[in-house]
Symmetry: D2
Subunit: 317 residues, 4 copies
């Protein structure tokens, strides 16, 4: 009787704890093994690289990265600061009178401007633990000087097929509404209209038109954003994509389908499925030229233990 | 008579000033026009990109970038510091209990670790002016908050044919001597042995073996370095290359051919000819696999007004 | 019966949790009230200030702060970096041809060089919570952008009587041994020899001679340190002091009396009793001049939400 | 004849250069010797310290420093950023389960918020040289890593008599107009009304009421400011003061008496006379309590080679 009571109590306590788990499933171990730290980057096989290479027919490059500058849109209290170390920074020295310039940069690099979210960026708080991709616990891999697991240096080169979904054009607008939630139907309609398919290992970029606000109305740019809803994100993950990206600051619609679950797309992408995210892209030229499939190349900086990386991704056709 | 005397005096004064010019030629306007800010990146045409693409046959990627970490070899008083902004940095929030991590980075990014030297990095002090690529004067384009000309954001993607010169292997050593000066004969011999050619628009990387000291003997690594001498650099520039690179910290041999002109190769490359430089590469895997030509890809971060960029260049075959 | 069992179980669970408490007492609420954020700074009354003022008889100032420089001894991976923003940083402008210089600084300011530890610096992990002075929980007052309680901006001016304990001289050595633990007997002997007393509201500084290693043998300086042991620290706290300080990097002896409780003096000082700590002082001149009591002045920077402050404290007699 | 011509030409050239000198006098060597780096801090003798000490009668302290926070008013592109290094930043460790917090700070410290301008902050461009206090040339003492002369570490403690000039109250306003130029008559009238005198070695603080805009209307705060004009500043310098200060961002009126010579007061203070400047003070409490003379204490951080220092100056009576 006593034993039964004790067990009941433990059961109740446990139940109470479990109730804190935001979703009913456990997302680990990863399909790439319980020690995997690269997630969906594993989709990029030599064959996939060759497939992407075969899309390069004109030798035309599109830079998708934004310029990093102090006044760009920044989330919350983040900052970015570049300072020249003197003009010149050293010299002249020698008979050749050489002078050098260099600069000091400080900021939340990896999480300002064009930014690539790594697998150490987003997790879920469950029963007192912050759990990341592959079930790794932040209490075990996090240090103030950098992550000892899931650091951006593990990702490697993202050289794969890229697909642009010009949702704005599909909806016949220059810019989607400020909180527009892109649906699966929108994606399917766009794919049909553009006559392209999403295949395993692709990078999928959304043109929403929201990027037109960049450096023009930064306040509006950051207040909300149109983008794929959680339903569309789950659908994309099922396709086996490597990464989503968009011409907005967080890819997924904000506030999205459930105002009590803002940013949940990040959890489904990185945290649960190891799928990456690329934010604050400039997709205007790709969209203007109706370029819907291309070789996509991005290589994160090997910043030891970092959660993200700045970058200047390119599309080539 | 008076007039003549005055003119003589001015002539003498001018002559005296000219005497300060380290070399007898004026290097501007650039062959790409007096307003050009991209230098040798102009060699990269769509045709060159397609040529590079044709080298991708296996879909095999080599990352050439070093890991950025606080204890890596650093020139002079430069620093690099990454700090996680809390573990987690924000959250948990919402019903989905999402948590986020982000990091703060400070340092001479662009001039620490694997680094790409832009055209605003090196100049020559002539008659009281610091003159850079295309004759641009630092007094006119330099500001404390960034360069208004020659900033790294102008470069664009470097997607071209890459050539590895394994000089160490050619000389039958694991590592060239600490001050070894690579000659034109060394390069020609290596090209012959490797059965490759250098063509216009190529990126040329030197494997010296010096990179074996990285994180093993940082002090020795930074004290000097083997690399191409000024003679070899001029020879390379004549070939119309886009960029040199090496598994050392400054590409060119230090102290080089003339101890009173240390670093003069930088002036001939960037300052006079708009040819870029890529330092602190990891070329060990390329060399181990005997990969001597490949598609080379590097895209500088669009850091507004910066002199350089960090990066993780890749070679693909 | 059931109820009893349940209660037992809860009791056992609770007991188990309590067992994690490193000490058997609860240290809050503070004697200055449950909302107090200033701790022992409350000892400094107008009367105490006047007492300190009465010690100023010669008008002689001793600066106790170290010079902040990049190569100073730094704990762990901390850094300090000062960069001039151009030479000059702006100008010349106007008919008056004015030029300005300014600098950029980055580092763990407040925890590098001469540093004042605030009450948000040290806490104790108890039952899953990090508990600080006055029982405040870090989970409730900590944010990535700064502490919302116990920030250094709450402290105010430390203008009070200062006492120097020249323990090195008392022990007839230039420098105490690397792990020497100063005992209560040492303090009492020194006070007797120096003919001074410790009274409520005083700042007590220890001259150990360890500071002679500063910038001479930084590695040895940081490896361990002589200083008061936990027993002496508790004794000092009983005297009602405002702050301890020393010519070493952490004031208390490291490793101290119990190698499994390194740094516990910090907990007794700041965490439990609101007594401050001042590290990396230069006490050589005070000691050389046999100055054992003086007006002591230090005013922390009002860095919002910071855990510490850099500074240049002074002693005046 | 030839010789004469040459000399004439040199004379004309020289004259032309001299014409660039903004004022007809040479301001060096300093009255404290040609090697002096402390300027007006030399006025602070032991006697002056004792005079200041004699003003401490109540033991009442006024903190004059502003809180440093990311959103405070900042000049131009300057920034200030504090980031907690984790919550906690380290631990728990040991049987005592100690946890620590620390923060990373970056910014133009010394030139943001409450700031003390040192003698390396302001100079004059004359004939191609940037000349600072005591005739020191920036080309000779400036390095990217810090000034080798006139660094803030040379100043020492400012412990002296302070005088508050409540010009706003004298003019019967809460806040002086946005570009109001305080005249010598204003100062003399205020001194008479307040029944105080300015004596050699004093610090003179101006209460303009402008500080009421701090964190309330930062944009207006930074656009202009009331303060002493160049005439009043010269008058003050004649009195032998150590420092001016005010509840605005630059002390002197901006734009001041001559819109082509904005900031010239800085040159007369620091550059020519070695008199310091203290900006962004909070003088509201002193003014509210009608405290017009007091002991003033400020000790710059010993930031090696820096142009300025943050701080929290105090007034005590």
């Amino acid at each position: 009787m006593k034993l039964f009571t004790a067990i009941s109590l433990i059961f109740i306590l446990t139940l109470n704890c479990m109730a804190q788990i935001p979703n009913d499933s456990i997302w680990w171990p990863s399909k790439w093994g319980s020690e995997d730290q690269r997630g969906a980057a594993n989709y990029i096989t030599p064959e996939k690289i060759l497939e992407a290479t075969s899309l390069i027919k004109k030798g035309q490059v599109y830079e998708l990265g934004r310029v990093y500058e102090q006044d760009m849109p920044l989330l919350g209290s983040r900052h970015y600061k570049l300072t020249l170390k003197g003009l010149p920074s050293s010299g002249p020295t020698g008979d050749h009178q050489v002078v050098y310039n260099s600069e000091l940069i400080s900021g939340e690099l990896g999480q300002v401007g064009t930014q690539f979210d790594g697998l150490g960026h987003v997790g879920t708080h469950v029963n007192g633990e912050n759990i990341f991709y592959n079930g790794f616990k932040l209490s075990e891999f996090g240090t103030t000087e950098g992550l000892t697991k899931l650091g951006i240096e593990n990702v490697g080169a993202i050289f794969t097929r890229g697909v642009l979904l010009d949702i704005a054009k599909y909806k016949n607008v220059k810019q989607l509404d400020s909180t527009y939630i892109i649906s699966v139907a929108d994606i399917e309609g766009t794919l049909t209209k553009q006559n392209v398919k999403i295949t395993e290992g692709d990078v999928v970029l959304f043109h929403t038109g929201w990027g037109q606000l960049w450096m023009r109305d930064n306040e509006k740019y950051g207040r909300s954003e149109p983008g794929p809803g959680i339903t569309a994100i789950k659908w994309l993950i099922e396709k086996g994509i490597v990464m989503t990206g968009a011409d907005n600051w967080g890819v997924e619609a904000i506030p999205g389908e459930d105002p009590n679950r803002i940013g949940e797309g990040h959890q489904w992408l990185m945290n649960r499925n190891g799928v990456y995210n690329l934010e604050n892209l400039d997709l205007s030229s790709l969209a203007a030229d109706n370029v819907y499939e291309f070789a996509f190349i991005f290589v994160p900086l090997k910043l030891k233990g970092a959660t993200g990386s700045p970058g200047n991704p390119i599309a080539i056709r």
